[in-house]
Amino acid sequence: MASYWRKTWPFHLLLLPALVLVIIFAYIPLFGAAIAFEDYQPWLGIKGSPWVGFEHFRTIFEYPDSKQVIINTLIIASLKLVFNLVIPVIFALLLNEVVNTYFKRVVQTLVYLPHFLSWVILGGILIDLLSTEGGIVNRFLNVLGMKSIFFLGDGQWFRFTVIVSDIWKEFGFSAIIFLATLVGIDPSLYEAAEIDGATRWQQVVNITLPLILPIVIVVATLSLGRVLDGGQDQILNLYNPLVYSHGDILDTFVYREGLMSGKFSFGTAVGLFKSAVGFIMILISYRLAYKLANYRIF
């Protein structure tokens, strides 16, 4: 034991700052979650505010809008979840087949660029691009003889727009991790397969896919924790009263309720509710990952 410490103490020292940060910024604030169970009043503080138990959680489910908001959140978030997993994987597989490295790099750079733009900026750009009068997307549709679509003002189209634009923004960046995995696959496997007479397609199905499956499952597991995240930034910048009924999600709901009308306790309660659901989802998916792909972190 003593020799273990003697050898490794510098590494533990390196860990220390991160540990301190986590305690200060992740664990201590947890006590603040107490206000979800209080009728929090700033001048009375956390200690002085009266306790109300699960009152705010009850409100979440009694609110006339809540059902719609939760349904919207689940639809938008789960569609995003699925497509944000499937599309980057397909993209990575396709890009991996490209032989010309120069072309490969250019494409990769171009597709992950949008990830670095904020939704405030992209929101403005999208509103212009998708405009029914003169927006480039609708002009293109018109050229094809189709009618203009009010992407941001029509409920069904709004969800579609939100999901597609989110995928467009993120798929390039998400693909990086899969590309990295693909690069790590032992080339001798492919050589052996080729000698055995496997086609390109057969190689993908029998070598590539099984080998990247664990990482796909990890990514899926991690993102399940955010299953109630519909993307506050994005929706806040794109939505409007015309599409409240299809686009209002928990986060935007909390923003309006919690911040705009100063209901701190209620906002915290919703946040806590979201975290609890996320935690349960992670537990379940981790179990599944262990069972199905024999993947485990601990």
């Binding site: 001048w43 809008d65 509103i127 009010f150 003002g153 015309l242 705009m260 009308s261």
Partner: protein, 598 residues
């Protein structure tokens, strides 16, 4: 947005200024009063017996000995204030703080200076929840205002106002009493308002070059306006051979009433009730029975919705108005896509002035608001308070604060024979700062043109100093008197070359000709602006259900205007609104109104 930044700056400044201590003139005031109504002399007992050393006819001489120290707090990022201080001077130490110390016996100290408004809010909230000592005088951010009063941390001001405030300021507080509900509790006033000028009421902006081109007259009624919108939409006013223009630019994302491009004038032409869906706190109109009613659920709103619906279905309004905020809507007008937009008088300069960049002939002019079928016309009153200055309940130097405030107020008021008007401020505040005395001539800017030698310029680069930040050290608010620029506007409309005499006149003269003309249009139509009668704090039900109801109203209005729901849906909406807490809010609002008007 620019305007809001400016406004925020002003508010901050105003807050700073409001924290100055007042001088010893109050007891003499009291004596005068007692002498005037010698029937009730027993209230004299409240007098603490100190005799004023100041002649009531020269209140400007008030000086405090021993000196009074006033602490305050301010947002100052050092960058956005521009030319506010000379090199070596600062918010804490400058010619004005020194002057106050020497001439008035007032020391100004800052408890904290932060660089961002959010930090200021946080700081106050922290002081509030940790029980720390609040500054003597400070501006309370909207959120914390109610908490401060609830927590009993701030001073009720009625006595101090009665004793120390400038008589004209008292009159203004009475006149605009209806706008102070937020800082009133149990009939007591807990904050002093910084007032806006109140000159941002809606006018109708129309492309005059389009009217001329299509041979149209400026519309005087809603019907005529509809014709103009039709012509602008269908008759190709920009002459490019394409059907790419619309009539009215209007932002509907937040409902029918907002800070620019609002349609309050259309509502007012159709009904006596004012409508707003943006915020549950406005618009509360007074009904025939004297009770307050919520505008957005009034049956008359249907007339407005019908008209907007017709315009929408005919294409006179941009189909995308529902996703447009005021900036976006004004872009359409500035880009030459729309010919009519409602809004404040300054819109002629920005953003509508930008239309000339696209088409040099573009000429937006301000016109009288159109009248409805019954000859009604009008608009909503813009909020006239810009935040409130509050006083720590333990603050002892409020007399000194008022002494300084009254001085600035008197200068702004500029009345002959005003005992508060400091003759030392006759030419400006501080020589070599906001003015230069050159060969007996007072120069307040453009020093180069006036031939002032370079070494006498207030700043090396020859620019004007922005005195607001210096003068506002503790008054927090501006000393703006609502609507007080009316006479100045009339003066310069009658004679654009007239010499400005007061600071208000300087400001008005500096405004662009188009804005001045629009201000004239605003003033000359003789409109009594619709008031929002509820100015109290959020009621409990507003707090819990307000956002829901606001959302419901905005959504419903848009769905009806877009034709997604039939007009009858409005009745369902009213029922939903009432059932979901609206009727309870109405009761609370009326209880507040009855209470505050006792």
């Amino acid at each position: 947005m620019k305007r809001y930044v400016k406004l925020a700056k002003w508010t901050t400044l105003a807050l700073v200024i409001s924290s100055l201590p007042t001088l010893a003139a109050c007891s003499s005031d009291k004596n005068n009063e007692a002498a005037n109504n010698n029937g009730t002399t027993n209230n004299q007992t409240a007098d603490n017996g100190t005799k004023s050393t100041v002649d009531p006819a020269a209140m400007w001489q008030q000086k405090f000995d021993p000196p009074v120290t006033i602490t305050t707090a301010v947002v100052d990022d050092g960058a956005s204030r521009g030319n506010a201080f000379k090199p070596g001077e600062s918010m804490e130490d400058n010619v004005n703080t020194r002057w106050m110390k020497d001439n008035m016996g007032i020391n100004v100290k800052y408890d904290f200076i932060v660089t961002k408004a959010e930090d200021y809010d946080t700081k106050i909230r922290l002081l509030l929840s940790s029980g720390g000592k609040l500054p003597d005088v400070f501006s309370a951010p909207g959120d914390s205002l109610q908490n401060l009063i609830d927590a009993g941390k701030v001073m009720p001001l009625d006595d101090a106002i009665e004793k120390y405030a400038h008589p004209e300021f008292k009159k203004i507080l009475e006149k605009f009493d209806y706008a102070l509900g937020e800082v009133k509790r149990d009939g007591k006033l807990y904050g002093l308002p910084g007032f806006f000028m109140g000159d941002e009421g809606t006018v109708m902006w129309i492309r005059k070059d389009w009217l001329d081109k299509l041979g149209l007259q400026a519309p005087k009624t809603l019907d005529e306006l509809t014709n103009v919108l039709k012509a602008f939409t269908e008759n190709d006013p920009d002459g490019n051979g394409k059907a790419d223009t619309i009539g009215l630019a209007v932002p509907l994302k937040e409902g029918p009433w907002t800070w620019m491009g609002q349609t309050d004038a259309i509502v007012a032409a159709l009904t006596d009730q004012m409508i707003n869906t943006f915020d549950i706190k406005s618009y509360w109109n007074k009904g025939a029975d004297g009770k307050l009613t919520y505008g957005a659920i009034q049956p008359d709103a249907k007339k407005y919705l019908q008209l907007m619906k017709d315009w929408m279905s005919n294409g006179y309004i941009d189909k995308e108005s529902g996703i447009m905020d005021p900036m976006k809507a004004s872009e359409a007008a500035a880009a030459g896509k729309a010919g009519v937009m409602f809004g404040p008088a300054w819109m002629g300069g920005w953003p509508l002035g930008d239309a000339a960049k696209v088409d040099p002939k573009a000429d937006f002019e301000a016109y009288n608001l159109p009248s409805g079928p019954d000859g009604k016309f009008g608009r909503a009153e813009k909020g006239i308070t810009a935040g409130f200055t509050m006083f720590n309940k333990d603050f002892k130097g409020i007399e000194a604060w008022f002494a300084y405030f009254n001085k600035l107020f008197a200068k702004n008021l500029n009345q002959d024979g005003d005992p508060y008007n400091d003759p030392r401020f006759k030419d400006g505040f501080h020589e070599g700062y906001d003015y230069v005395n050159y060969n007996g001539k007072i120069v307040k800017g453009d020093y180069k043109a006036a031939g002032v030698p370079e070494d006498k310029w207030p700043l090396k680069d020859g620019s004007r100093m922005d005195m607001r930040f210096m003068m506002a050290s503790i008054t927090g608010g501006t000393t703006t008197i609502p609507y007080s620029n009316t006479d100045a506007i009339k003066k310069f409309l009658a004679d654009p070359n007239a010499e400005p005499q007061t600071s208000t006149e300087f400001d008005v003269k500096a405004s662009p000709a188009r804005t001045l003309a629009a201000q004239g249009v605003r003033l000359n139509q003789g409109i009594t602006e619709g008031k929002n009668y509820f100015t109290g704090p959020l009621t409990p039900t507003m707090k819990s259900k307000g956002q829901l109801l606001t959302k419901l109203a905005t959504e419903t209005y848009l769905k009806i205007i877009y034709g997604e729901k039939p007009m009858d849906y409005f009745d369902d909406f009213v029922k939903q609104w009432n059932d979901n807490g609206g009727s309870k809010i109405t009761d609370e609002v009326n209880a507040w109104y009855a209470e505050s008007n006792k």
